[in-house]
Subunit: 208 residues, 2 copies
């Protein structure tokens, strides 16, 4: 039993290590696999160091959830903002980000979040925050198109809630029903086109 050689890092760096280990575990095996010992092992560190930096494991889980979900949102956001065309094109990019480019690991993290937030207050609060951030983002896309006259969206926030709720459910389905993404995109496209008061072909003009 040779005592493990120690490496002394700056608190910020070590904190990032622990956080990164927790993050990768969450993406691989779910939020419930983010335990003190599992994180410690992956970070190559003693168990005590994890709670030393994370304070409580529940907080670490909530933070990891926030990071994963936030990154996904920023990814879709930048894809939408990178669109050169009109507001209809932006909606197309949005739907792509919501469904076609969905990431199974992220979808599973969302499901874990819903389930675990019953017993983890911080996680519950974080989940609500992130859901609102998604709503605001999607609603802004619809509002912009409504303002420019590209389509009609009299209640952007309600529409955003609907689209997000629906696509979330479809993503959950897709975690076990793989292979129906194309079909799902078609349905959602038709649906949203109908709700926006534009012809389906307008939202489906790029090749899917």
């Amino acid at each position: 039993m040779t005592p493990a050689k120690r490496v002394r890092k700056s608190p910020e760096e070590r904190r990032a290590d622990v956080h990164g280990a927790a993050r990768s575990i969450a993406l691989e095996s779910g939020l419930s696999a983010v335990t003190q010992r599992a994180v410690a092992e992956r970070a190559g560190v003693a168990p005590g160091l994890v709670t030393h930096y994370a304070d409580r494991m529940e907080l670490l889980v909530a933070e990891v959830f926030r990071d994963i979900v936030q990154e996904e949102l920023e990814s879709v956001r930048s894809a939408v903002e990178a669109v050169e065309g009109d507001d209809v094109e932006r909606v197309i990019a949005l739907l792509h980000g919501l469904i076609r480019d969905y990431r199974r690991d992220v979808a599973l993290v969302w499901l874990d979040g819903w389930s675990l937030s019953r017993r983890n207050e911080e996680l519950a609060a974080t989940l609500v925050d992130q859901a609102r951030a998604w709503e605001d983002f999607v609603a802004a896309v619809f509002e912009r198109g409504d303002a420019s006259g590209a389509f009609r969206a009299p209640d952007p926030l309600a529409l955003a809630r609907f689209v997000i709720g629906a696509t979330d459910g479809l993503s959950a389905q897709a975690t076990v029903w793989a292979g129906h993404e194309e079909e799902t995109v078609r349905y959602v496209t038709r649906t949203v086109a109908g709700l926006l008061g534009i012809p389906t072909s307008a939202l489906a003009r790029t090749a899917y």
Copy 2:
């Protein structure tokens, strides 16, 4: 410490007791609260008796999930089959069963099921079975209307998958975003009407 008085029941009856206790715990506190000791206490029984009848706790959890979900399906099924009117009326009843009459406890059990099935093989298999049963039921409603000419549903199964996925997601949302059920019903109604090729008013003619 007076030894607890024993009551000797038939295996079938005791099994039902244990099962019922597990079921009520799942509806109250989620699938992850269905532990050997919690079930034993609620059933008024020694912990050992729970696993004696359930074999493994994972099996009990899977069975409880199946029962709860199956009962919900049968409830909606009988509501739809009780409709006297035409196939459009049946779709209205279906959407009601899927969204407005949604039960928060059942929705949470679904979420737990998705999350837990990563670590519980039997639960995963049960979840897939139940999801298919829902699909078949909803698809049959659409197929019937298509056959009778009440509306158009060229691919009933795909449409069923879409409607179920979307309403599942919206139900999950509703577990935290309470109070938007009416709005959600309106959106889903418009959406489904559009997909079925009938005027929205046809699906919304009863007072919501």
